[in-house]
C-alpha cells in the first residue's frame, strides 16, 4: 500500500525539522518537495541514505515498473534529506509515482548504511539542506483532495457520474488504480416522476438511468493526479 498523504502540520516546523530526530524504517513521514527543475527531494526519517547512485530497477506491488528511476541520493544521518534525480519521464505524475514506487521497493537505507559503510558527504549534506529549506517551508497544508465519483450541478438538477474503465491492474475507482484507460463523465438529469403510477413522495432525489451528454477523457494524454486515477477532480457543473 502506498503511503498516504503526510499528516497535516503546522507552519512552525519545516520538513527538515520534522525529519531530524526521527527513526523510522519505512518512511511513514514521507514528504516530497518537487521543484520545477526536475529534481525531487525526498525527506524522510533520520539516517536515510540511498544505497547508491544510478539506476534502480524494481517493481512495486501494483506492478508499476520503476526502472526509470535514477537515484542520486546520499543523505546525511543528521537530517535525513535525500536528493533524488529522476530522468526520462513522460509526465510529472509518473515522476511522483516512480519515486513512491522506488521507496516502496524494499530499499532499506538504514540497512544499506551498515552493510556498505557509506560515508556521509558533507558538501552534499549542506547543499541538500539548503535546498530543502529553500523549498520546504509550507505556509499551510492539508490532506489530499478526496477521490469522488459523482458531483451535482450548481442548481442540483444534474449529476455527473464518473465511470472508469479498468486499467492494466484491473482496478477501477480506487486510489491505487493509476492506469485507468478511459474515463467517462456522464451527465444525468434529475428524474421527476411525472404522470406515473405510484408517484413517489419521498424527499429523496432520483436520477435517470440515461445520460444527456458526456465527456470522455483519454487518461494517457492527460496529466494524472497523485491521489485519484482521474486527472482532474472534483468537477464543478453548471447547468
Amino acid at each position: 500500500m502506498l503511503p498516504g498523504p503526510p499528516p497535516s502540520h503546522s507552519t512552525s516546523r519545516t520538513s527538515a525539522q520534522r525529519a531530524i530526530g526521527q527513526r523510522v524504517q519505512v518512511f511513514p513521514d514521507l514528504d516530497l518537495i518537487h521543484p520545477a527543475n526536475g529534481n525531487i527531494f525526498v525527506t524522510a526519517s533520520a539516517g536515510v541514505v540511498w544505497p547508491g547512485r544510478g539506476r534502480r530497477y524494481c517493481r512495486t506491488r501494483l506492478g508499476h515498473d520503476c526502472r526509470w528511476v535514477a537515484l542520486h541520493g546520499v543523505a546525511p544521518v543528521s537530517t535525513g534529506v535525500v536528493q533524488v534525480t529522476v530522468t526520462a519521464f513522460q509526465n510529472r505524475f509518473r515522476q511522483y509515482a516512480a519515486i513512491l514506487a522506488a521507496i516502496r521497493c524494499g530499499i532499506d537505507p538504514l540497512h544499506s548504511i551498515i552493510q556498505r559503510g557509506k560515508v556521509v558527504n558533507m558538501s552534499r549534506l549542506l547543499s541538500s539542506t539548503f535546498v530543502l529549506l529553500s523549498y520546504g517551508l509550507p505556509t499551510f497544508a492539508s490532506a489530499a483532495f478526496p477521490c469522488v465519483n459523482a458531483v451535482s450541478s450548481n442548481d442540483r438538477s444534474f449529476m455527473v457520474l464518473v465511470e472508469r474503465t479498468a486499467g492494466e491492474d484491473g482496478r477501477v475507482n480506487t486510489r491505487e488504480s493509476t492506469n485507468s484507460h478511459r474515463v467517462s463523465l456522464r451527465v444525468r438529469p434529475k428524474e421527476t416522476f411525472t404522470n406515473v403510477r405510484g408517484n413517489s413522495v419521498s424527499p429523496a432525489t432520483y436520477w435517470t438511468d440515461w445520460a444527456t451528454w458526456s465527456v470522455v477523457l483519454d487518461t494517457n494524454q492527460m496529466k494524472n493526479d497523485l491521489g485519484c486515477p482521474l486527472p482532474s477532480l472534483p468537477m464543478m457543473v453548471s447547468s
Binding site: 498523504p5 503526510p6 497535516s8 502540520h9 520538513s15 514521507l30 514528504d31 516530497l32 518537495i33 518537487h34 521543484p35 520545477a36 527543475n37 510529472r92 505524475f93 511522483y96 523549498y135 520546504g136 509550507p138 505556509t139 499551510f140 497544508a141 492539508s142 489530499a144 483532495f145 450548481n154 442548481d155 455527473v160 463523465l185 451527465v187 444527456t212 451528454w213 458526456s214 465527456v215 470522455v216 496529466k223 493526479d225 497523485l226 491521489g227 485519484c228 486527472p231 482532474s232 477532480l233 472534483p234 468537477m235 464543478m236 457543473v237 453548471s238 447547468s239
Partner: protein
C-alpha cells in the same frame, strides 16, 4: 462542465481548469451517436493568478496547498460565467461558452 486540477500544479501547466459544454447539436439518439460534448478551453494558472505569484511558484510538495485553496468559485445567476476569486482576491470571469477571460 469544468474539470478542476488537483495535486501537483506548476505555473507552466497547460491547464488548471478544463471547460467542456454540451454541443449545440446533440448526438443522434436514433443511431446511437453519443453526445460527447464540446471542448471549450483550457485555463492555465497564469490566466488566473497574478504574474508575480505565478513566477514565485517554483515548487510543489505533497503537503502544498491546492492552487485554488483560499479562493472561491462561483457561477453567475445565468450560469454563463464562472467567477474565480484567488486567494489574493483578484477576480477573473470566465465565459463558459467561449472560454474568454475578463479580469474584474
Amino acid at each position: 462542465m469544468i474539470l478542476l486540477q488537483t495535486g501537483p500544479t506548476f505555473a507552466d501547466d497547460p491547464a488548471v481548469l478544463r471547460i467542456y459544454r454540451r454541443r449545440d447539436h446533440p448526438g443522434d439518439p436514433i443511431r446511437g451517436v453519443p453526445d460527447h460534448g464540446a471542448f471549450v478551453r483550457d485555463i492555465a494558472l497564469a490566466d488566473l493568478w497574478p504574474v508575480e505569484r505565478t513566477k514565485a511558484m517554483t515548487s510543489w510538495w505533497s503537503g502544498a496547498p491546492e492552487w485554488f485553496e483560499g479562493g472561491k468559485f462561483e457561477f453567475s445567476p445565468d450560469s454563463r460565467l464562472l467567477i474565480v476569486t484567488t486567494r489574493w482576491r483578484n477576480v477573473i470571469q470566465i465565459n463558459l461558452e467561449t472560454g474568454s477571460l475578463t479580469a474584474r
